[in-house]
Symmetry: C2
Subunit: 233 residues, 2 copies
Amino acid sequence: MDVKNEPSHLNDLSVVKSVSLTSALEKELERLILTGELEPGERINEIHLSNRFGTSRGPIREATRSLEAKGLVEVVRNRGVFVRRLSVQDAIEIYDVRAALFGQAGRLLAERMNDELLAELTRLVDEMDVVAERGSFDDYYPLNLAFHNFIVTSAGNRTLTAEYHRFVNKLHLFRARALVQGGGLAVSNREHRAMLEALASGDGDRAQMTHWRHVALAKRRVIAAVDGASRID
Amino acid sequence: MDVKNEPSHLNDLSVVKSVSLTSALEKELERLILTGELEPGERINEIHLSNRFGTSRGPIREATRSLEAKGLVEVVRNRGVFVRRLSVQDAIEIYDVRAALFGQAGRLLAERMNDELLAELTRLVDEMDVVAERGSFDDYYPLNLAFHNFIVTSAGNRTLTAEYHRFVNKLHLFRARALVQGGGLAVSNREHRAMLEALASGDGDRAQMTHWRHVALAKRRVIAAVDGASRID
DNA sequence: CGATCGCATGGTGTTGACAGTTGTCAATCT
DNA sequence: AGATTGACAACTGTCAACACCATGCGATCG
């Protein structure tokens, strides 16, 4: 075995050979895009990237084709690939899809509810109540994320989970993303409680409805925020 | 304008230069997969394909990476890419996602209903009734497809439409696809009428429910068919 | 006779080079 | 001055060659 004796703390990309360069690059590019290091609308220069990562252009091109299919970038022939920029309209459409998926997750979870799941969900909602009371948004955000992820993951449909995350990711490309966070912590958590009760009841219809509505209301808040912002401009 | 004066009836793949080779190949491969010309589980040989299409391996690799992201093929490092094979479990999961998306489409359509849309939907359902009466499955199938497509498209959410079709496509990879068609034409069209009435009423909740249920029932029929088949084996 | 090792082979992973296209900038013309 | 043209620079599209890996087969050894 001629193991390359490279220090293991090198760039993530040197840990390759067990996983293809292409998929490692794809992950890294996705990270750069979702963290905003590559901004929406920005052009991705293949040569520049290949220099930066020390590879040739082939794997980078393959990675970007994959990202294109995932909807994170846009490829224009002979012009290059651009980080996808979401319009307000796009974001609204995504909210509808997300609502549908999240509602389905709620239904599935209600149908397989048990004490253990209920305990964890209750814990999260209780904790969010505490944090919301003192209006600490920075503490609320990760809890909120964990709550939603827990619901979707626990629903037990891997396809649904993957799809849900794909769309949540896409929302990161929304320029006016800052607006998404409007609407009061207490209000949000009141909706969480309604979801929790529906889940506890084991009523699939009711769970789907409450979960759907939670996202639909988030969508409405975003629209309101966007309208407000554009009125100011 | 220096329009290339090539006969327009050439091979699909030679009409390139306006559209990239990669995306032309991707479309062609997708067609081969969805029509079953490339069977689920079958390995895709890059060299073989590049000879067949007269290109190098680069564009083919890019196309397959895109198909991988779309979930139509599976890439195993150093082994090759394989046409994805869906398990019964996968198919069931997809039905849940599809139900969620179709339900959402129903809701959106109900909220933007008008006489013109209603007329077309009614026409399709009436026609399906006629065809169902004489049990002609071959005539029913395209009408049924058109009906569903019309609903999803008319809902006016392009993201949702794309996503819905992606999942319907994926179901084509299901080995036991023949079973999907079980369950009586008349029964199916009775569900269509319920959907139609809900849409006509403009009640979003009710429309979402009826549309969701229609797919959920289809899922149940598939499960029953699969169970029956496996009991025979 | 069975198991293991090594090698040959077919195929994928990655690269560097070349061809073709787009956008820019300066010189020229109106 | 403004518009137009032509050449140049920067990139992307495509290709062919090389490197590396996985599998199967046969020789060798226990």
